[in-house]
Amino acid sequence: MWEKVEPMDDFEQELAQALVRRPAPPSLKRKIMARRSEHGPRRPAMPWQRLAAGVVLAAMLGGGVLWRQLVEERRKGEAAREQVLTALRITGHALNDVNSRLASRRSEQR
């Protein structure tokens, strides 16, 4: 029934005749072209434009990744510096402790 090779019955033929395309209003094309010129002709992007857009996007993404890495390295450096300072403070305390014990022993021996 639906294959194009099969003929339509009388009713379907009458329906197809009733549904012929109507001509568009004469003003339609003029209105479309006017609306188009209002917005300016939009042309598809040229290959070099697409390439340039791709390069800019890639540069932005790359820059973002690099900046993130830099921030992360700086944060790790700060943490390492804090750890070294803490270790030095602990060592200083320990040395002071040993020093005071030695001083007290010497005074006892005298």
Partner: protein, 180 residues
């Protein structure tokens, strides 16, 4: 070669404005709205011109977008509580232009088509105005093939039933007019 083809907007408008306008008109029943839809569809085509690969692609794309825009317009009107299909002859002088081109019987059939549910009307318009196969209709409406076949069969059955009773009256009226 499809790749050698360059879309020319103005040529596409010339070639397809009648198709786009007719589809929108038969789906909405309003000449003014159909004209607005046609304008919007071509503006959208302009924005997508770079992606159109061939004349066939352009035609398929235009059908798809027109049907989708028409369905949106019908939905918006339903939300506002308006019934567009009050009668095609009440809108913007559609009756006059219809009679110029169609037989009185055809005009009656077209009016009856307008009373069908939207999905059935869409399938029948694409089938009998655009001469598409059910597969092509399914691709255009983005609907399953089985659904489209069912809509076509149910729509045609309903239209035949309406025509059987409606056209009997029509023939009787014509006879009276002829005798008078």
């Amino acid at each position: 070669m499809a790749h050698d083809w360059q879309a020319d907007f103005e040529q596409l408008v010339d070639a397809h404005q009648s198709m786009v306008f007719s589809l929108a008109l038969r789906m909405t029943g309003d000449r003014g709205l159909a004209e607005e839809i046609a304008q919007d569809v071509f503006m959208e085509l302009d924005r997508h011109l770079g992606r159109i690969e061939s004349p066939e692609h352009a035609c398929h794309w235009l059908r798809r977008v027109t049907m989708s825009r028409s369905a949106d317009a019908l939905r918006r009107r339903k939300v506002r509580g308006m019934d567009l299909w009050v009668g095609i002859d009440e809108n913007h002088g559609a009756h006059a232009s219809m009679e110029e081109r169609s037989s009185p019987l055809g005009t009656r059939l077209e009016s009856m088509l307008a009373t069908l549910p939207e999905a059935q009307r869409a399938a029948l318009v694409l089938r009998y105005q655009e001469d598409l196969t059910p597969e092509e209709i399914a691709a255009t409406l983005d609907a399953p093939l089985a659904t489209v076949k069912s809509q076509l069969q149910r729509g045609l059955k309903l239209l035949r039933a309406k025509a059987t009773s409606g056209l009997r009256e029509f023939v009787r009226d014509k006879k009276y007019v002829g005798e008078g």
